[in-house]
Point group: none
Chain length 205, copies 4
Amino acid sequence: MRASSKHLSKHRREQQIIAAADIVLREVGANNFTVDQVVERLEVAKGTIYKYYKSKDDILAEVSVNALKLLLDYFKIAVENQKDGLEATKAVIMACYQYYLSHPQYFELIVYMERPDFRSDVKSYTQASADLSNFVIEHVKCCQAKGTMKADLNPLYTNYVIWGSCMGIMNFIESKRVFIEQFEKIDRKELVKAYAETLVAGMAA
Amino acid sequence: MRASSKHLSKHRREQQIIAAADIVLREVGANNFTVDQVVERLEVAKGTIYKYYKSKDDILAEVSVNALKLLLDYFKIAVENQKDGLEATKAVIMACYQYYLSHPQYFELIVYMERPDFRSDVKSYTQASADLSNFVIEHVKCCQAKGTMKADLNPLYTNYVIWGSCMGIMNFIESKRVFIEQFEKIDRKELVKAYAETLVAGMAA
Amino acid sequence: MRASSKHLSKHRREQQIIAAADIVLREVGANNFTVDQVVERLEVAKGTIYKYYKSKDDILAEVSVNALKLLLDYFKIAVENQKDGLEATKAVIMACYQYYLSHPQYFELIVYMERPDFRSDVKSYTQASADLSNFVIEHVKCCQAKGTMKADLNPLYTNYVIWGSCMGIMNFIESKRVFIEQFEKIDRKELVKAYAETLVAGMAA
Amino acid sequence: MRASSKHLSKHRREQQIIAAADIVLREVGANNFTVDQVVERLEVAKGTIYKYYKSKDDILAEVSVNALKLLLDYFKIAVENQKDGLEATKAVIMACYQYYLSHPQYFELIVYMERPDFRSDVKSYTQASADLSNFVIEHVKCCQAKGTMKADLNPLYTNYVIWGSCMGIMNFIESKRVFIEQFEKIDRKELVKAYAETLVAGMAA
DNA sequence: TATGAATGAGTGTTCATTCAT
DNA sequence: AATGAATGAACACTCATTCAT
């Protein structure tokens, strides 16, 4: 009954499943994500999915690898386009913001994965996350070498300060209903810019 | 069959329900919070709860009022214990951290409440949130008046920069499983301190 | 706390309750009718209602007395406006139709009351129903006396044939979704007219 | 734990579910019909039912297809047993009555389905209903062709007059508790017969 | 290896009725 | 007599996971 796609290689199968899961995630978000929806988008049975991934959370962890890789791309582009180290740092923060605007469901996914009852040990996820950290760490070291950034900043910590707080502020600021009154008056891009400038000013040598 | 507590005053009953909901929230988190669990903790029937709160989300909104009020308390204490304005600002950030460590589920709750499909119009929630903002805004204005903080910082934005990014960074950094390797090596308190110092340095006049 | 209306006479209280129930019925229909809604409309507590009516169904039975009385009014007006006996009979059928259009919720109520699990022994309801029957029976006898209607028709049966089938046809015809295709093409008033003419033609002496 | 009947064909499973639903319907009526009751009667889990039918109303719509098909059978048998067209028409009305007596819950079901808040788009239901109409329409046309029925009767309207009013009168007359006094004295079969004769007399050419 | 039908404990929510005050 | 808070069994519907084929 199934089309041509029987007996694919293990790798192709996995790709296929994650591709479908990615589409579902982008459509409904992590909180409404169901395995059934993935199956609908896929020429593969539910049981088969569980042969490749032992739980729904495993699938989501795999999807989040895409999310992290994409964020790394945003970071790279931001840095490439800037000569000055501190400007590049600001650009990284703004890239975070752009990413958040363009891929809010990836955000939701990352938040979802941090729930204490989330269970998964996907190695590639850890790897993607390390790649991201390393990129920022190298950038920080580079700035310090050039003398534009305080030498006493711990690069690892600075890494987290940069993109952790950056993603955090966005998530928090988006809190729509909480601040309804002021919300209208706020230009979110300006806010992020103000944040970037303040933070980077604090890092400057 | 029920215990002694029949026919409490409306206020007492509400307190009772929210107290039980608060306990459940702290135990299982907002995402696993169920009305049934509240009932179990409470010598009250399910129907009774729905007489006082028209939905699960209403209950959670009410619980979050507690959460926000508590955070405000943390802020107040932090500021009171510091003479210097910038030190007080750092203290606010560290208070955020302490709060987050002590009440991680309140964090999850706030995130949960911002989901687009969350439904509730609890006025006291909006009020509590405004109180929090206003406190920080006043603090910023005060620092600016004293000349310790850059005069060109928009107090409203600075408010969000301070506690929004602050809560955000914690939420993000706590991402336990993501960074397993480095996680061991990280002293989270030091990290937040580094963050606070960098940010406040950027705000200094 | 309550306004002036404490300690009304039993009769006034009943009137008050039924009036509120009538409003609720017209607003939401018999199937969505709840005692709570009646209480909302009333300066009387729920417990009090149960002092006067032993069940929700009792209340509805009492409301339906209004419904039947109103239908009788429609019948009377129809007959009064016609000289000719058979024309008057047709007019009764058309009055049924008008009544149905103007008071669909009363219809729903009557249908609701016929469910086998409906429980109530409201005497006034039986009385109102008897009044309705008697009116039609007298009309039939009158027509027979004048020689316009077949003398061998049993007046009691003819009574039921007239208004029972009449209400039935309307209820059935309204079946909206069932006949979607043809429904557009049907002029319901014409249909009822055709029905009335056929039936009355069959009654003519 | 479950019995032998695992992994039936899709069709068999549907049959099984509808059969159980049909039994429940006949036992408790459409208004008290619950999915849980169907589950109890069935060696199948609740979730399984929802794999085959997406809502309770869908199940009921499917059951009502049976109900309508059965009524059509009653109609066919009635007509087949009569030579004379008008006698056959009377027979259709009496068949309605027999059907109603034998399957009162099917009646309740049809009424239930016409409630404005009923939701379902079961095509086979519409089809079954159209079959029923078409059968009567053809019968009317046939009578008109033979000259036994007034040529100016609109067959579509006459269709509704016949079985719509017919079902209606029964539903209404059966109103047991309403007319308690007279109810004893009434021979319902005679009443329907009187109705049939009157109506058919009105249709005769 | 792939399947996909089956599972069943849970979800939030409703409402007629009771009964202590 | 009047109250209205409390009850709790029902209800429709969901979905991650399993397992016989």
